[in-house]
Amino acid sequence: MNNIKKTKLWQVAFPSGDTFEHHEHVKYFVDAFEKLRDKAGILVNEISSELPNYTVHDISHLDALWEVGSQIINDEIVLNPAEGFVLGGAFLLHDAAMTCAAYPGGLEEIKQTNAWKKVVARLQMDTDKEEIDEKLAIEIFLREQHAIKAEKLPFVTWPHPTNGREYSLIENEDLLNKFGQFIGQVAASHWWGHEKLEHEFKDKIIPAPSPFPSGWSIDLLKIACILRAADASQIDDRRSPGFLWALRQNKISGLSKSHWNFQNKLTQAQCRDDALYFGSTSSFTREEAADWWVLFDTLTMIDTELRGIDSILERNRPKSDRLKAKRVANIENPIALAKLIGTEDWHPVNTAFSISDIPGLIEKLGGAELYGNDSFVAVRELIQNAMDATRMRKMIEKNAQDSAVKVELSFKGKNPVLKVSDMGVGMSADEMMNKLLSFGNCGWLADQAIGEYTDILPNKDSVSGRYGIGFFSIFMLGNKVKVKSKRFDRSPDDTVILEFKRGLNERPILYKAEKQDRQTQGGTSIEVECDIKKLSKDSFWKHTGLWVDDEEQLQDLHHLLGSCFPCSEIKIQLETPYSSHVIDGSNWQTEPAEIFYKRVTGAGTFRFKEHDLARGGRGNIVIEQAVKALQIIKDIDGNVVGRASLLPRAFDYWRAVSGSFVSRGAAVGAGNFAGVFLGQPTKAARDSATPVACQTDILKWANNQASIWRGLLRDQPAEQMRIASYVSALQGELGELKICKIVDEFYSLTEFAELLKSIDGIWLAEGYSISHAETYLKQPKRCANIIEVSDDTPDIFSKNIRGVIG
């Protein structure tokens, strides 16, 4: 304690001497701080028992913050004793909740929280196992929740086990009531992003509570910045004392080991001019190279933190409040840092995996390389993202209005302009950069991303976008992209626009929307000016012509969206220059079978009718039969997991008609059936899936299909054979379905077995070869005992989704 009283930061905050005008108030704060420090010291001592991997988080770290803080503050800084008390309290409490002891009910209390349930669900999702590693779950929970808990910590009470006495960290009730919430808020803020820090604290200069001098206002932003900078920069050997490391070495592994090693070697940070200098007591050997690189990354993080803090203070406070430390010295490259923190017999050349053409790689991975030459997937991805945002809004705000995703297609000259808008959760500027533009990082499922909004856990079934790459598919359509968004809980002033003028070849620009562009409602709109030259190389475009400014060409667009989103509970409102449509998949379980069938398969399209007409209208006859065969498929708990029928071979000529696997309302795979099965996507491209229905559900459905189709195809034995091959592939009961043809007779399984009893030998011949031979023989007469067999086993559940179209 005496050491911290000698620091510059302490002496600025708590002027000493009886001659100081308000020395009694100063003493009041100092006494209260000392008592708080005693209690907090006991609490933080518990951290090491649950998180032995972590470097020192005990009172020595908290005391050291005063020294590091003294290095980083400006000589002109003014801190009054009230601010000193809040800062000191935040020093003591910022990490104090990294132990179960911070929860009076211990682990049992933790297990009741939604945050714990979310951690458990995430671990189960990651490992696909019910059972979780509880120690790991505790570590994740404490790390993720410690800052949130820190805000409440001043008001937590711990009951004595026997005498019932209640303990709290700040025993002085007057100080607790007047300063407790500010200490909690500043402590919690050390874990916030810079944008939130500025947004929350830029106007928070709290006038002094009585009876303290009126000039002792408390500037939360200034205090929070000192805490952050000091906490980030305190990485010397006090965090990793050699003896403690020796004692704990068997418990420390992996990345933690690197942290222990490099911090053990580090000297205290020292500020010269505007830079913070770090040094080491010994060089890093080749065996310690990995530790040196972890140090390099850590110092880079500190540098980013200091620069970020300086930028916030520069915008919002006078020069005297800015910190002296604005950067880390020699961090611009590894060689420069090695001059301060030496390496022995090796040179820290940055040999990390590097990509010279990142935009090119993203364009490839997020575009044609992933999705194939089919630009419509980009439209699908945009709509799915919009639906996810809408669902998330509904999850957070139970009373939020049901809103549709709006898809608008207009034309700028010959170039189509596509705009997809939603009234979902929306994004702030930070979220645009960290979620939308973070390739491969799924914003919604990332750690804590949704925690800002709600305690409800979004699991992998809650959203479609699991892979965090969908947005980048937009560049398959064109290079001019404009994203406008406003988070639902922000004001219209916070509407932001992200604009790509030349795709990924040039950095996008991010700016606040002008007055006329501001949104009053939360949500996002994404507009892309499609590049007609790009689209003309695309197989989808060539087949459908859906991007041409022509009424006839565009009339199938709503059917196409209907088949892409067969079961979506969120409506799609489609506007083209010629028509408006609402696509609604919410009633897929109950809507009339024919409407459902045509909507989800694309059999209602102009192109289907045209194609079918050219083949004598056979398709419509089969549709009638398929509609009759449609069945609701339920799982063992009675949940609907599909609505589908099998299809006879005669229908395969029209590739537009195939069944879909559906996840979160959207088609994510296709198969050789009619209708839909709920499914789970198996690839990032979301073009293949596995059914949610289990083997038993599917078997039951296959048996029913055998019986239904036997009735429907009574006079069409050849087509019964196709159904039979599907049912057989699903290991269902064939019943009286015809399964083979011998000469001119069709046989069911029972009839075939009966036939075999009367003969001694039989040939199985490839059906295709027989048919082929018959086409050029004048009067073909098949030999007896030859059975035509199909050359392959039909696969009902695997068909690439791109086969759905054209």
Binding site: I762, W763, A765, A773
Partner: protein, 70 residues
């Protein structure tokens, strides 16, 4: 399903059936040619089964895929 029924009704042993339906690189090990049409000199790909089929029957009616390739 056809083969299962044939195997059952013609009482073909598991051992023979396993050898007969053995898949090797490039396709099934044994291959046959079927005289499919009466009065035509045409044979097409297929398989032969007879009651109580033995390994000798396989050799008699069918050729190994690699022999066929020669």
């Amino acid at each position: 399903m056809l083969v299962d029924t044939i195997k059952k009704e013609f009482e073909i042993s598991d051992e023979v059936s396993a050898e007969y339906h053995l898949y090797e690189i490039g396709g099934s090990k044994y291959h046959g040619l079927v005289p499919a049409f009466e009065g035509e000199d045409i044979e097409i790909g297929g398989r032969y089964y007879n009651r109580n089929m033995t390994m000798q029957d396989i050799e008699k009616f069918l050729v190994k895929q690699d022999d066929n390739d020669k």
